[in-house]
């Protein structure tokens, strides 16, 4: 079952009245959508509110989603519209200097804008999380680090990674899981001590 099919499964569950399935979609896409919205809404607090609103709008519109496009494309479109409406309500013009489309949002990288997402309250926590993940990744054995990097950063499938690393697909699956779990082990204490557990 491909990634898009997993989304479709979750969408169909939501359409049958399963709210928990929508929670899983929110967890999966919240940061991608948050980054996208922060490109329109510069104020970090407002960006978070708009992100929440976009998810609620997506939930309300879920009955009309027929799977003709990928869920994330549809979600990002709602995110962009919500952000633009927010700007209009606040008498601000949406950015027009850089045309931006929902289809492009996955490859969106703009560090200078992303930096503005952090609020003074969460900036320290954000840095710590990033540091723990990066340090944990560097401490992983080479085969685990490569497998996780090829999956998360390069976006390769297990079969492609198996071909690159010259090992069975089952081994790839195991390596990626072990890598994730090793990083997660280091992250959990930090996240549990977080004041508002907003990570």
């Amino acid at each position: 079952m491909a990634d898009r099919e997993v989304d479709q499964q979750l969408v169909e569950r939501v359409q049958r009245g399963d709210k928990h399935a929508f929670d899983l979609l929110v967890t999966k896409y919240q940061r991608k959508l948050g980054r996208l919205i922060s490109r329109f809404v510069r104020d970090p607090g407002d960006a978070q509110d708009v992100t929440q609103d976009a998810f609620i709008k997506a939930y309300r519109a879920m009955s009309g989603f027929r799977g003709e496009s990928a869920f994330y494309t549809w979600l990002y479109r709602i995110g962009i519209n919500t952000a633009k409406n927010h700007l209009l309500q606040n008498k601000r013009r949406p950015p027009t200097s850089t045309y931006f489309d929902a289809e492009d949002s996955e490859s969106f990288e703009d560090a200078s804008l992303l930096q503005e997402v952090s609020t003074p309250e969460n900036e320290l926590m954000s840095k710590q999380v990033i540091e723990v993940v990066q340090t944990s990744l560097q401490q992983l054995p080479e085969d685990l680090r490569s497998a996780l990097t090829l999956r998360e950063i390069e976006g390769l499938s297990y079969e492609e990674i198996a071909s690159v690393m010259n090992c069975p697909v089952g081994t790839v699956r195991s390596r990626i899981f072990r890598a994730r779990e090793a990083v997660a082990e280091n992250l959990r204490p930090l996240l549990e001590t977080s004041k508002d557990k907003r990570w």
């Binding site: 359409q15 049958r16 009245g17 899983l24 940061r31 980054r35 998360e152 907003r198 990570w199």
Partner: protein, 167 residues
């Protein structure tokens, strides 16, 4: 084992039945939900290491409690059956069309075989000597191509008076 499958699920690398089973588990087990969340956080940090946005999932979850259930009209079986029937009909039409075109392009074999098995015989009609020049001049212009598969067996004959007087 469960964590292993959550990891594979988020990569889209589980079979449908297994994926559905894990999704069910994710609904009911908070520890599994945390694993799903933290694995996604790791992925997000690796892809965008500059900064990470705060988690809005809990707030969205709380707001969802005030939202009515979404129940989309399910695609009825009749609609699915209609789609399948239309697909099958289109496929059948395509096969028939291709077959028909192939038959049009290929000469009919049966008459050829029949002609091959029968011995060639001399034309029974007799032409007058005056038409020989006409036949010779117009042989290349004769519409032989209209006779599919038969042109190979048609001979142009010329009448000669000398043959008739042979011993």
């Amino acid at each position: 084992m469960m964590k292993n499958k959550i990891s594979a699920l988020m990569d889209g690398e589980l079979f449908t039945d297994e994926a559905n089973h894990i999704i069910e588990q994710l609904k009911s087990q908070s520890s599994a939900q945390q694993d799903w969340q933290i694995y996604h956080l790791i992925g997000d940090v690796l892809r965008q290491p500059e900064v990470i946005t705060a988690d809005v999932s809990k707030v969205v979850h709380e707001r969802l409690q005030f939202e009515p259930l979404v129940v989309a009209p399910q695609r009825s079986m009749t609609e699915k059956a209609r789609n399948i029937a239309l697909s099958a009909a289109a496929s059948l039409m395509a096969v028939v069309a291709v077959s028909w075109m192939a038959m049009q392009a290929t000469p009919n074999k049966s008459p050829q075989l029949a002609l091959q098995t029968s011995p060639l015989s001399r034309a029974s009609f007799v032409l007058k000597p005056q038409v020989n020049a006409y036949l010779a001049a117009h042989q290349e212009l004769s519409p032989s191509s209209d006779v599919q598969g038969g042109s190979a067996f048609i001979r142009t004959t010329i009448y000669s008076a000398t043959e008739d007087v042979a011993p």
